[in-house]
Symmetry: C2
Subunit: 198 residues, 2 copies
């Protein structure tokens, strides 16, 4: 059975996104793509980390990541990534509204799950066929998985900035012990990988 | 002129201490010495980082670090470190109450400063004679120095645990850009050193 992991881009003060997230600024005001610059502006230097993310056999994300700031989205909304999202595999979106799967270009299919994180994980495991599962975000969804003890690995990609405000990773999570298994970095990002102790 | 730096032991979710800090549990409930275990239980493996801390020519700390949870301390209170505190040099304690310096064993002298962080820094610089200044904590004091743009380096020592509650580093600090200049770690701690961009 594959591992359940998350890769989260965070500021040094623990934010994953700014305020006022919306479709045309999915990471919110004052953040933009700065927390993800290591992926998009220096993909070669961070190739190992990026390869591990896209190697997942299935992805799970929260409603607000699929549809930032829109609440209940229109039935013709297909995410903010354009016609070819970067997942290239099955993506399970947590929602309260039933909706048929949406097939995108490049292998991404969005499935909509109304039964919560356990049901999403069950469906993702079935779709992944033994490969790893990525909890793609946002912070609130990752926090739910951490709190429920369903994550095997937490991979933080820490951008060297203090943001001072935004959506905070690990908010509302109680005591969890971790083991750091690797750390490396460059001018733009520090990668730290933790295994969750059971 | 020496650098102004801070070394802060933090959890992965950014806490430097637990709740209910007091003289017999200076780091609060549920934290104990766990965030400082890398210093006290594995000093050899982390010798380089420890050497840099104690190399400071003077130290500045907040009232609550000198006297955890006691508010205005008795005039016979000499800290919670015992007769020989680990500083071995001049320590400037921020307070609202005038008090004569207290000379401890091993070279530590506590000076009490009522004029705020700028006055403390001025006195520490004079005492350090060109050596570096360490902002020793707690989080609220470090946050004041970060917010005022008075810190040159931030050295985080990240213990692999999510605490979920406590005193948070960087609370109330606005946008600050950093440059990571070194990162290394072991099973018990990840050391990341940042230079503050001006």
């Amino acid at each position: 059975m594959g591992k359940v992991f998350t890769d989260m881009a965070v500021s040094v003060d623990g934010y994953t996104a700014g305020l006022n997230q919306r479709a045309d600024a999915p990471f919110g005001d004052g953040v933009g793509d700065s927390l993800h610059a290591w992926m998009f502006q220096e993909p070669e230097e961070n190739a190992a980390e990026i390869a591990e993310i896209v190697a997942a056999g299935a992805f799970i994300m929260g409603r607000n990541m699929f549809s930032p700031g829109r609440g209940d989205w229109d039935l013709d909304w297909t995410g903010w990534w354009g016609p070819e999202p970067p997942y290239h595999g099955p993506v399970f979106v947590l929602t309260h509204h039933e909706r048929k799967p949406v097939v995108m270009e490049g292998g991404t299919t969005f499935h909509f799950v109304t039964g919560g994180i356990e049901e999403a994980l069950e469906q993702a495991r079935a779709a992944a066929g033994g490969a790893d599962i990525s909890i793609a975000g946002g912070a609130a969804t990752v926090n739910q998985f951490v709190a429920a003890g369903l994550l095997d690995e937490i991979r933080l990609h820490i951008t060297p900035v203090l943001l001072g405000r935004g959506e905070r990773l690990f908010e509302g999570v109680d005591h969890v012990d971790l083991t750091p298994v690797s750390v490396r970095g460059n001018d733009r990002v520090t990668h730290v990988r933790y295994v969750v102790k059971r």
